[in-house]
Amino acid sequence: MSVLVYVESPDGHFKKTGFEVASYASKLAATMNTDAIALVIGKADQAGDLGKYGVSQVIHVNSNDNIGFDSQALSRIIADTAKEVNANVVILTHSSSGKALAGRIAVRMDAGLASGVNALPDVSDGFKVTRSVYSGKAVATVSINTPNKVVSVMGNSISVDASGSAVTPDNKSVSLPATKLQVIEKKVVSGSVPLPEAELVVSAGRGMKGPENWGIIEDLAAALGAATACSRPVSDADWRPHSEHVGQTGIAIRPNLYIAIGISGAIQHLAGVNNSKTIVVINKDPEAPFFKAADYGVVGDLFEVVPRLTEAVKKFKNQ
């Protein structure tokens, strides 16, 4: 028995969420008295570095074919590898790719699936793990009842432990199954922090009055090194792209710091962000419901407060 962790390497590089799942798998394997094995598919620089995060082996599947992302082909490679290394637990990132893979791998392995978990499981009696439900308004403890298990881990849920040492990856080649899906184009905004992985998020709502005023939000985000987000009315009005919409019908995030600017804090918005570690609310209305969910509040005109905060952040960073 072992724990297999699939670590994504988009554009040939690992991301922080990749190191998080490697750490997760290693810690889980330790409590189960077994080994964690990492699987990397496609181009990846320094695949052996995953050893630093506690995995005892790295299997690197090289392929000259440009497979792009096809969940049908990738899930087969992952499930086949799990079988070969006798893994009964497969760990994935709860990313757009991870979500598309997890259900498929679970079917192939006849495994129970716990998706988007936010902590290590309790394996003292069965396999119980917590995950956020009702769009962040509650936490459920779920039990996986099958011998094989698939778990996808929400970003920013576990601290990365890089105290181990790098290993030499085992290269492996596989013949790829025929794919019915062809990736034509990939457009990634370089330099920006993807929202689900961001540790710091600056978010704004209708209080901004119009899309032309977003400069002060972008300035604050740039000063902090934060990602930008928005509320639903803002994306519905096309002031900002849908991909920035956080909340119940947008995306759920759990950054270390969420700064909400000119957002009243409707229950649907809070649902997507109330797992943030620290929430700052800036609003001119002292009765805004968001203040009840906040750690720090500033009652004031955002057009004055936000540039002032940006200057304060810059001053702090220069110290």
């Binding site: 969940s71 699936l113 998706s115 009702y134 720090y296």
Partner: protein
């Protein structure tokens, strides 16, 4: 193009979340249930638009008890041609996926649509499972889709960007915001929905692979600390020294 659209029933977005039976069960008292917004606003509407453009029809499918008929009728009012309800409680994602796949296997659909996730369990699990059970490609988080009936071009959201892909033949597609614009059913649609066929089929059942053993509400915040709007240096200090997030 004949399309199967899978819909779920979820609590209303403003519903109060509380639990009963020693925190093992969601308390549905006074809760208004709706069609899962991702299924309704994006998956269902884009499927209807495609049939309007290419011909064919939309079949709506729900796994659930007879109390779900109300949301199924709404989907028919929006524009589904007929509906199927697989008669069992949707207890876990695999049961739901296995029943959808079993039904879809016996028919021929050119495409299967569902929402990217439900707003109660937030798992994003069912679509990938259905695709694997039917050995079909799965394109998740679709925000744009065009099709000529066989070849489809889909833009899907990925971390920090988008990916455009092309698929030949049937696939499972999960819908995200942007794929379509919400349609409010009109009076004619609502009247017509009453006479559209809703077939109830028995479910295949098995032991759930995953079960929820306990719910809890997130810990309450201890209270907001207000900072003088003139003194943002103080806020930065608190975030650095007290909250330790910057």
């Amino acid at each position: 193009m004949d399309i199967l659209v899978c819909i779920s029933k979820t609590p209303d977005t403003t519903a109060k979340i509380s639990f009963k039976n020693n925190d093992t069960e969601y308390n549905t008292d006074g809760v208004n249930f709706i069609m899962n917004p991702y299924d309704e606003w994006y998956a269902l509407v884009r499927a209807i638009e495609l049939t309007e453009q290419l011909g064919g029809s939309v079949t709506v499918l729900n796994v659930g008890p007879s109390s779900n008929d109300i949301i199924i009728r709404k989907a028919l009012a929006v524009g589904g041609a007929g509906a199927v309800r697989i008669d069992t409680d949707a207890t876990d994602s695999y049961t739901v996926a296995a029943n959808i796949a079993e039904y879809a296997k016996s028919k021929h659909y050119d495409m299967i649509f569902l929402g990217k996730e439900t707003i109660d369990y937030n798992g994003s699990e069912v679509g990938a499972m259905v695709a694997e059970l039917l050995d079909l490609p799965f394109i998740s988080y679709a925000i744009q889709m065009e099709s000529d009936g066989n070849s489809s071009t889909i833009t899907r959201e990925i971390e920090g960007g988008v990916e455009v892909c092309k698929v030949e033949g049937p696939a499972v597609i999960s819908a995200a915001p942007g794929l379509a614009q919400q349609r409010i059913p009109n009076m004619k649609g609502i009247m017509m929905a009453k006479s559209k066929p809703l077939t109830v089929v028995p479910a295949i059942l098995q032991d759930p692979k995953v079960s929820t053993v306990k719910y809890q509400l997130p810990p309450a915040k201890s209270g907001v600390k207000l900072v003088d709007p003139e003194n943002m240096d103080e806020l930065v200090r608190l975030l650095h020294e007290e909250a330790r997030v910057i």
